[in-house]
Amino acid sequence: MKPSEQASYLDAQDVARDELVGYLERDQLEVEMDKRLPPARLSRRSRLGLWALRVFVIAVGAMVIYTFVAGLH
């Protein structure tokens, strides 16, 4: 490719790139999506509620797994 052709090819690529990026919202770009969000502030009641939920799920999940394993025998 001649230097002049190469330059116009690169220009065309820049135009295409310029046009393409316009179709995205800024926070859809990879560099934006890689940024971390700040943590949410939870009330004490919310935190307790979440822990209660975890205990419930672990307890019931263990029962289901125990029942399933016992059923294998």
Partner: protein
């Protein structure tokens, strides 16, 4: 965006922008059907993907055990619940451009995020085993051995990812999803009692009798067959991977509702097949597990309906292999904070692709072990998913109500009320089955 403000653009950004350009032009030119065609995908795949092997076996088992009746309208009801949950995922994904696991880790901490991802990987592995079971049962009808099911499943997962484009992966999966309709065709060909079917929808009866524990198992597994943790991870991450934005919410809702309607219809088809078998006294659940549902149906209605049912089971297993493997890859990628998109090359998103195919590989290896209780795995996979679901739903509700993230797209009061009802029902049904089964197994109560 002015050129001076451009950040560095990755190859993935350009791929996604190319996809979005088609959406832009379809919207600008007022081509509504083309716009819908471009934006349909995550919702349909989540809903029909959940009409997977264990779900269809679970529906058919309900049909065999209880015939026409309560479980037919119950399936429709559970897909109504699925719409509420999946619409929230789609909305959160389109507004925040981040996956569910990523948001939970960043907003609510690593422990909660890893717990959710751990839940998901565990239930996904068990469910993937059940998907291979469905493939194996379907292919066994055509006298093909178990290793063919494993090889076919793994080849499909690898093939769908080969293009390194979300769009390509999605269209392959949607093509497969169309064949879920075979369950409905098989049900029609099986010659169901239309009177009993209609009566079940109108009167919600006959209500199931028999063992309380069996009924609880089927209620929990039916809920687990329609609303699951992997669907939450999958639809939100797929919405992000597809590049949907708040402008696409209307089409996203249509996609979700359309998927739910199709999935409910096809799921009812599977139940009706079971009911037809029951009306011909074709055998108990365990007996059918040995022979396979298609084999039992052939003895009752002939080869055509049975062949379609076998093909349907193959499709159900195959599609879910794609979607559930994908949700595993998304979840692990989000938990580790590494790249996780079908638009990335293998080198840039190695963990995503390795988890995607690795999960399928482990599950495939399990079904090659002789004497594995396949039907029990299929049913218990759904129950386990139901037990672990409340955690995922509670965090989804919190995300959808997070003002900082969602702005004006936050949940309405009606959506919150409906979602809370779903969480409570799911938690109670999972707990009821878990506790009742445990007490029976440990002989603390009698049968």
């Amino acid at each position: 965006m002015p050129e001076s403000e451009w950040p560095d653009l990755s190859h993935e950004d350009l791929d996604r922008a190319a996809d979005r350009s088609r959406v832009f032009w379809a919207r600008r030119d007022g081509k509504r059907w083309r716009l819908l065609w471009l934006l349909v995908g995550p919702g349909v795949l989540a809903m029909i993907g959940e009409n997977d092997g264990p779900s269809m076996i679970s529906y058919a088992t309900s049909g065999v055990t209880y015939g026409y009746g309560f479980f037919l309208p119950f399936i429709v009801l559970t897909f109504g619940a699925a719409i509420i949950c999946q619409e929230m995922c789609m909305r959160v994904g389109a507004v925040t451009h981040r996956g569910y696991g990523e948001l939970v880790i960043q907003r609510y901490g690593t422990i909660w995020g890893w717990f959710n991802a751990g839940d998901l990987v565990l239930t996904n592995l068990v469910t993937l085993v059940a998907e291979f079971v469905a493939l194996r049962v379907g292919l066994a009808y055509f006298h093909l051995p178990a290793w063919v099911a494993v090889a076919f499943g793994l080849a499909l997962v690898a093939f769908s990812q080969a293009g390194h484009r979300y769009w390509r992966w999605e269209r392959i999966a949607l093509g497969l999803a169309a064949f879920n309709g075979l369950f409905l065709v098989a049900a029609i060909l099986a010659g169901p009692s239309w009177g009993s079917t209609g009566k079940a929808f109108v009167t919600l009866s006959p209500f199931p009798g028999g063992s309380f524990n069996t009924m609880l198992l089927l209620v929990a597994s039916t809920i687990g067959a329609t609303v699951t943790p992997w669907m939450i991870f999958f639809q939100q991450s797929a919405t992000v991977d597809k590049g949907m934005t708040p402008r696409d919410l209307r089409q996203g809702r249509t996609d979700t509702i359309f998927g739910a309607v199709l999935a409910a219809l096809f799921g009812c088809g599977a139940l009706v097949v079971g009911a037809v078998l029951a009306s011909h006294h074709a055998g108990g659940v365990q007996g059918l597990a040995g022979a396979g549902f298609p084999g039992a149906l052939r003895n009752v209605t002939g080869a055509l309906a049975a062949t379609l049912l076998a093909l349907g089971l193959i499709e159900a297993g195959a599609l879910a292999l794609l979607t559930i493997s994908a949700s595993t890859g998304y979840a692990v990628g989000e938990a580790l904070g590494v790249h996780h998109s079908f638009n990335y090359s293998l080198r840039r998103a190695l963990a995503f692709y390795v988890c995607n195919i690795g999960a399928a590989l482990i599950a495939g290896a399990v079904i090659l072990i002789p004497g594995v209780p396949l039907l029990s795995i299929a049913l218990n996979a759904n129950v386990l998913a139901t037990v672990l679901l409340p955690v995922a739903l509670v965090f989804l509700l919190m995300l959808a109500n997070d003002h900082r993230l969602m702005g004006k797209w936050i949940n309405t009061r009606k959506t919150n009320a409906a979602a809370i009802v779903v969480v409570v029902v799911v938690a109670l049904s999972g707990a009821a089955y878990g506790i009742d089964s445990f007490l029976l197994t440990t002989h603390l109560i009698g049968p």
